[in-house]
């Protein structure tokens, strides 16, 4: 199909597709008035039973934790796919003279300060996910921002020494296995897989909400390590 024919097909198809979507959307309730039974049940049950503030975190890491397990496995598989694709390197010239631009001292100083702040904020987000907006995934990627800054300031080889690939892979696997292990803890406690088997604690305290902070931390570790692997694979491509 030539480019011109493709353009004509799109010009016919796109308005038809938009009209179909518009017809589908017109069948929804008016914007801002949808109230589902599932949502009302969750909103009344979650803060009371799990003593949790962040209802979205309770949905993601407790009530629908099985979906989050699938999502983490998707992330794991995709990172494995990227590593598989990019790790076969021609010529093995990994120690050749790097042609990267050396960062200036100002960039290095700023990156050092912001790296520390990024790690602190990322760990806070991951650990406080059940009390305020945040959670494992957001905290994990925010911690990754520290590694991005480090890479910008220090270059590929120092980043490889700071976060060696074996350690990062081990962290990623530990995060994924930790999620599974916490889920199996529910089975050992005599109930279903991913059942919330820790005590709910006091509302608003750091050890409330049972298993949610642990799962959140495991997810954060896996996400941070997974994206760090992606970053290091892409960065090593530039050393070819």
């Amino acid at each position: 199909m030539s480019r011109r024919v493709r353009l004509i097909v799109m010009l016919i198809f796109a308005p038809a597709f938009a009209a179909l979507l518009g017809w589908a959307v017109a069948g929804l309730e008016p914007f801002g008035t949808t109230v589902t039974a599932y949502a009302t049940t969750v909103e009344s049950v979650a803060p009371r039973e799990q003593q949790i503030s962040n209802i979205v975190a309770s949905v993601v890491y407790d009530i629908r934790a099985f979906d989050s397990l699938g999502e983490e496995m998707i992330l794991f598989a995709s990172v494995s796919g990227v590593v598989l694709l990019l790790r076969e390197r021609r010529g093995k010239r990994a120690h050749s003279a790097s042609r990267s631009i050396e960062a200036t001292d100002l960039v290095r100083l700023t990156a050092l300060v912001w790296t520390v702040l990024a790690v602190a904020y990322g760990v806070f987000l991951a650990g406080n996910g059940h009390l305020s907006p945040g959670g494992g995934f957001q905290g994990g990627v925010a911690t990754l921002a520290a590694l991005v800054l480090f890479y910008l300031a220090a270059g590929t080889r120092r980043m490889q020494r700071f976060a060696p690939t074996t350690a990062v892979e081990a962290l990623e696997s530990a995060g994924a296995l930790g999620f599974l292990a916490i889920g199996c803890g529910g089975v050992i406690a005599g109930s279903a897989f991913l059942f919330n088997w820790l005590p709910a604690g006091k509302f608003g305290s750091l050890d409330s909400a049972g298993v949610v902070p642990l799962i959140s931390f495991a997810v954060g570790m896996e996400v941070a390590a997974g994206f760090a692997l992606l970053l290091s694979e892409f960065a090593q491509q530039l050393e070819q």
Partner: protein, 119 residues
Amino acid sequence: MTLPAVLHFLPYGVAIWLAVVGLFGLTRSRNFIHLTLCLTILQASTYLLLLSVGYRTGGQPPIARGATAAPFVDPIVQALTLTDIVVGATVTALLLSMAVQLHNRGVSLDPESEKPFRK
């Protein structure tokens, strides 16, 4: 002064617009990385659609503060959107790595080139 009908359709309208625009960019793209970014726009339309379905006028963000009687915005749809964002980022990373590997093998990054195996 207010146009309630237009304003109530606007979130869905923008989601549909983003979907169509992203799809259009996909078919007209001449570079695999440009194509991947158009796919990101298509995915963003789904985030907007999901959150617009769950929105509640006068609703609070779903953070419980003890005993409040305020109606909450739907939290289930927000959990779905969170998963959507994660999967979108990982799919984009995988597509980018495929583009890089194509470049490493000497294949042209133009989807429409007549001789793809010679750069």
